[in-house]
């Protein structure tokens, strides 16, 4: 039995052939819980290495911050799977692996001579985890995708943008189509790992980014399933079948807060009015008439206007803490640089320091979950291109010698 202090994936060997952030994030999630992830790259490197932002703005295969973000805690081995020798090396690596994480679409798989079903038969304990834009089957299986195309065809994009529909739907930030793919890939892999524990043997797992996005639309599908209504995008708040009031408020310091003015429930409304009144800004909202829900509802636009004025003369951070103290769900719309300075994030130690020898030590996001019985692997920098080629191929050669 493994040491209970050992991390869940400590005995897993993963071969990653990932060419997009979805596959690479999946590999990082595995490495973060202790798996030995060997990232197999062609001589020119993973395509992610060619995407910025760049370290100090200088392009280079080892200087892509996009690559850094998605490839912590892995080893990099240059193996050109498009050549015969490279394919033999890949297969030798797979013979000793638990998981083959691959993002190639069907046409690319055929052209590389990779057959997931055949691999699964040849290595019965191997879990082949395919994470592709549209899945391995179906009429769109070889369609090309991107972050924008993924969120567009998948459904979330239609729901995001501004009240003004002359403006097209607007892409939400941060590679979220790929993050959706990675989230589902990790869950799917865990289903297969638990199945392997219970029943023995690996299998082929086929995760589709497109379908992942298509079920990541929250109310979008239920509104179609039940009332057959389409939701319409609104500025920084839920797309709905009918228009609703704005939910972001500008503050004195130019920052915005998100706050839903709930007039339906008496308690939050009373808390809000008491708060405004404490600063002499409740205007007529203290009138007894507003204790009646129907009256509040009928005068919603006026209430909204008074509340807008209230926010406009106070700083966002003040509004956040004072509102929360009055049990109102409110938050500052924080910029990335503000997250590192946030006292809550600092006290929880969310951001971690990662050393890049000779360059510096930088803050990275820590793990997305905390366990009392085990911890994530401390985050380390992404590998340089081919940094571990000799080590990985040397170990293979050693195994071959040992076996003969």
């Amino acid at each position: 039995m493994p040491n209970p202090l050992e991390r869940p994936y400590a005995d897993l060997k993963v071969v990653e052939l990932a060419t997009d952030p979805g596959g690479e994030m999946t590999g990082y999630l595995l490495a973060g819980m202790g798996a030995d992830v060997i990232k197999v790259e062609p001589p020119e490197g993973s395509p992610t290495r060619a995407v910025g932002p760049w370290l100090k703005g200088e392009e280079g295969p080892d200087d892509s911050l996009a690559f850094w973000y998605y490839n912590s805690n892995k080893r990099s081995a240059v193996v050109d799977y498009r050549t015969k020798d490279g394919m033999a090396t890949l297969e030798a690596l797979l013979a000793g692996a638990d998981i083959f994480l691959c993002t190639l679409q069907p046409r690319a798989l055929r052209s590389a001579g990779i057959d997931h079903e055949a691999l699964s038969r040849r290595f019965p304990n191997l879990i082949v985890l395919s994470v592709t834009p549209f899945g391995l089957t179906g009429p769109w299986a070889d369609y090309k995708s991107s972050e924008l195309v993924g969120l567009a065809a998948g459904g979330p994009l239609f729901m995001c943008g501004y009240d003004d529909h002359a403006i097209p739907p607007i892409l939400p930030g941060g590679n979220q189509a790929y993050h959706v793919a990675a989230s589902f890939a990790h869950k799917a892999l865990l289903v297969a790992l638990i199945d392997r524990q219970m029943n023995g043997g690996g299998q082929v797992v086929d995760v589709s980014m497109h379908e992942g996005c298509a079920v990541t639309v929250e109310l979008g599908n239920p509104y179609w399933f039940y009332p057959k209504a389409l939701v319409e995008r609104q500025t920084c708040r839920h797309a709905q079948p009918v228009r609703t009031q704005p939910a972001i408020f500008e503050c004195a310091d130019g920052k915005w807060v998100y706050f839903v003015l709930v007039v339906a429930e008496p308690k939050p409304f009373a808390n809000l009015v008491a708060w405004m009144d404490s600063k002499g800004m409740a205007a007529d909202l203290t009138d007894e008439a507003y204790q009646d829900f129907a009256y509040r509802q009928a005068h919603y636009a006026h209430v909204q206007g008074v509340v807008e004025c209230f926010f406009l003369v106070h700083d966002a951070e003040t509004m956040f803490h004072e509102g929360q103290e009055r049990e109102l769900p409110i938050a500052v719309i924080s910029a990335p640089e503000e997250l590192f300075e946030d006292p809550h994030n600092i006290e929880r130690g969310f951001f971690v320091e990662v050393e890049h020898e000779g360059i510096g030590t930088f803050k990275y996001p820590g793990a997305p979950y905390q366990f009392s019985a085990f911890t994530s692997v401390p985050r380390t920098r992404a590998p340089k291109l081919g940094e571990h080629t000799n080590e990985v191929l040397g170990a293979l050669a050693g195994e071959a010698v040992g076996a003969s």
Binding site: K187, D195, A331, E337, L339
Partner: protein, 432 residues
């Protein structure tokens, strides 16, 4: 009101799937919690949703009904708890029981249920489980090596741990809203509680990790997931641009709407298509894709202009480029244009709405993502499947969501061993 609940197939029975035999005492509610444990139920776990008749779960109350269109904020003051489509969507494949945790007997029943389970899940405001005495230490007494999954907006420690949150609040606090929008304007953010989905996925993964680890080592664990941290974890490379390069995003030209800073894709945008509020997304990454796009557009003369000759030139001249693309796309059906462009090797996608996903998209239809189940009150309804195929494992979709208290008899009698008379008495006293 009584419903016919003893219809064939609704009575709980043995489940299929890798999680069969795993029992979960599930206090989760709201979208984020319900979605987190749904994944376990989909793959065979016996997830027992614990509900309070006096405080209905929000998805049961939200007015997402067949035949009635209204915003989800426009709640029915007296909702039928079994009519809500959102609850049906989030709690399919689960069992449902009712218990009043304000009563001593109710808390005794739950102690017995936890002792008969091996996973406990919750996403209340911090302090609620403690008020009921249900700390991790107490759960371990009831069920050695229990997995106790706690999910909240800000996590269970830190100065904001008691702060209120739901999806959009989390999105604001984790940076996700700020990084979405046109430059120089208020953020467009998200038109959905994206972080309810993603925090739920993070929670499901954490639960499965803990189950996998317990299968290996025999040891249980407590889990703390903060939705804000789950969001910051997936905010993307901009975080490193800030921490490594010292970039300041506020007050500048960030974010950049549908254009991206990296890679230098152009055209890269959402262009009008034929019809009302129909759009087409196009992302051209290199010269080969550009030539294919120009070919599909019929080799217009404007495309020969030197300012569009290279990827860098196109990237620099997007203001000039985009109107040409829009003039071409607005005459075209978004799906036909998508197919034509994809056939030529151009990354393109119709901006699909829920109707498209359900009724037009041939890929989703072919792969059978959505499925149907009957429901005693709602009738036949569609459900979102899981976006994954396994060569030898699958979802076990056995039942639509439980009616309020539908499985009281099964759980209290068959699992916990109460007699029919005891159950009647508990119901009469308002305990269940």
């Amino acid at each position: 009101m009584t419903y016919q609940t003893d219809v064939a197939g609704r009575r709980p029975h043995g489940r299929k799937g890798p999680l069969a035999g795993l029992r979960v005492a599930d206090f989760c509610w709201m979208g984020v919690g319900s979605l987190a444990t749904r994944f376990l139920a989909d793959f065979g776990a016996e997830v027992i949703k614990i509900e309070n008749r006096l405080r209905l779960d929000t998805p049961r109350r939200l007015p997402i009904y067949k035949g009635v269109v209204r915003a989800y904020g426009h709640e029915d003051p007296n909702p039928d708890p079994n009519k809500g489509g959102l609850h049906n969507n989030y709690s399919r494949n689960k069992l449902g029981i009712t218990v009043n945790m304000k009563t001593e007997k109710g808390r005794e029943i739950v102690d017995r249920l936890i002792a008969a389970s091996s996973v406990v899940t919750e996403n209340f405001a911090p302090g609620v489980m403690e008020r009921w005495g249900l700390t991790y230490d107490r759960l371990k007494e009831l069920c050695p090596e229990v997995i106790f999954a706690r999910m909240s907006g800000f996590g269970h420690t830190g100065p904001y741990h008691e702060y209120r949150s739901y999806g959009p609040v989390v999105q604001a606090a984790c940076g996700m809203s700020f990084v979405s929008g046109l430059p120089g304007r208020e953020p467009s953010g998200w038109g959905l509680s994206y972080m309810d989905n993603q925090a739920a996925y993070t929670n499901s993964a954490a639960l499965l990790l803990a189950i996998y680890q317990r299968n290996r080592t025999g040891k249980g664990t407590e889990i703390d997931v903060s939705a804000v941290e789950a969001g910051m974890h997936m905010l993307g490379p901009i975080l490193l641009d800030v921490s490594v390069n010292g970039r300041v995003t506020r007050g500048g030209h960030y974010p950049t709407g549908n254009r991206v800073e990296h890679p230098h894709a152009a055209p890269h945008g959402v262009y009008p298509a034929r019809g009302d509020d129909r759009w087409l997304a196009i992302a051209v990454m290199n010269d080969a894709e550009w030539r294919a796009l120009v070919e599909v557009m019929g080799n217009p003369s404007w495309a020969q202009d030197g300012k569009f000759a290279t990827q860098e030139a196109r990237f620099a001249n997007q203001d000039d480029l985009d109107p040409h693309i829009a003039a071409w796309s607005r005459e075209r059906d978004c799906h036909e244009a998508m197919d034509a462009l994809q056939a030529a090797g151009v990354r393109a996608g119709a901006v699909q709405n829920a109707q498209d996903l359900n009724e037009v998209d041939p890929q989703i239809a072919k792969r059978g993502l959505f499925f149907e189940l009957d429901h005693p009150v709602i009738g036949e309804a569609r459900f979102e499947g899981e976006p994954m195929h396994f060569s030898r494992t699958g979802m076990d979709n056995w039942r639509s969501a439980p009616l309020l208290g539908e499985d009281n008899d099964y759980v209290y009698r068959e699992i916990l061993g109460y007699s029919a008379e005891e159950i009647d008495a508990l119901a009469e006293e308002g305990v269940i």
